[in-house]
Amino acid sequence: MKNTIYREKLIHRYKNPKNYGTMGGFDKKSFSHNPYCGDEIEVFVKIENKKISDIKWIGEGCVISQVATSWLVGRLKNKKVEHISNITKEDVLDMFNCRINLAREKCALLSLKVIKKLLNAGN
């Protein structure tokens, strides 16, 4: 079972996402929607002294898109804004510890795309 996306750890994360919710008094927010499959994510950030002092998100969609977001948002909390530039698509895909189908990569990378745009980082 360790090579399946649908193992207990990831499903638990999907059902109990971290840093989930809206944010009042945010500095920036960004929304993205994949019309192909209906995955959507909205991310809110508070930035103080070039640091992501708070980051939260809401969304709906498949396990891959939502778990990737939960993981990525967790990685960025309390980090410098520029840290997002260090996170690559391979980092996101590797997080799952199993092969992500080429057809599902877009799901996994939706949040990386949204957050890079939000923080004005390159692709």
């Binding site: 399946t4 996306i5 059902k15 499959c37 995955d39 189908n101």
Partner: protein, 397 residues
Amino acid sequence: MDIKNKFPVFDKNPGLVYLDNAATTQCPEMVLETVEKYYKSKANIHRGFYSQAVEATKKYEQSRKVVAELISAKPKETIFTSGTTESLNNIARMLESDLNSEDNIVITIAEHHANFIPWQQLSDRVGCELRVVGLDDGYKIDLDSANEKIDKNTKLVSFSFVSNTLGITFPVEKLISLANEVGAYTVLDSAQAMTSKEVNVKKLGVDFLAFSGHKLFGPTGVGVMYVKEGVLEKIEPVKFGGSMVKKINKNKANWTKLPHKFEAGTPNISGALGLGKAVKFVENIRQNKIASHQRYLNKYLVNKLQEVDGIKVLRPVEKSLESGITSFVVENIHPHDIAEFLAENTICVRAGHHCAMPLMDKLGVNGTIRVSISIYNNKNDIDKLVQNIKLIQRKFY
């Protein structure tokens, strides 16, 4: 009937549960042999004088004859294309000069993009209105809506025989009749109907018909555009090149005879030969037997799915409209997650919008899981599918 042993894919993949036949069907050995045989003695057609070329030409035209007979058409009305999509796009281009901004085109909300976008694009180019017939609450094509939308300015009515998503049979005869009353062209997307319906263009009286070889156990990259003889004589080709010209000088060209006038370039010869063989395969089994098997298993599938909490089957109220295609959604689990989990267990279904986004909007879903049954499926396949859906539900709920 033990038909599975005729399909090599099941030898090579024991345990495979292939339920994505609306996407493509598997090829029986006889089709694969035909394609391979052509490539072992390959030649182009309608050109060479040597034996391989003559043989290839003869077989190609024989295949055309077989395919034409399947739909009760004449060979000259049966034009090989790369598939349904090319056929429908060609038809849209060929009829363009016949339309003006006062006209309207009528399609339905349940069309595949291949039978939606060409008409949307055509109406944009010409500046005419595109009218879309809806579905009623019972997932049936709304004939009242059709009656209202098809009027004296309707130039063309295009619709499917069977929905690739809901599996419903469209009221084909009625729609053709409404179109005929106003003198509109009729275009029938028959892609999903070829193994399970009697598709007789003469009885239907349709002007154009399109289907793909790979959906009736044939190879990919080949299909048919049928054009009724009376219409054929009036329209011009939209694809130009070799094989379709009678004489050309530096100023102008004129076209060769039908159907080659509409078959520019080297066609998918192996595909056409494979399609001819696939048609023979279907005729040996008999379409009504395939249809009956699909409906029987589909009913079994739907009943099983409806027994499971959290599954909503998008089933027409009128059961007689059902074919071998069924869509459903599972509460709180994304269709892609269902399909991926099934794939991990060698069960092949399709999840998503099925190239029918307008229909998804109408249904209020982002996507569905689609199961499409064919001749080599059996109750074990359905049981395994349902068992695995229950498994993934247990993980999520």
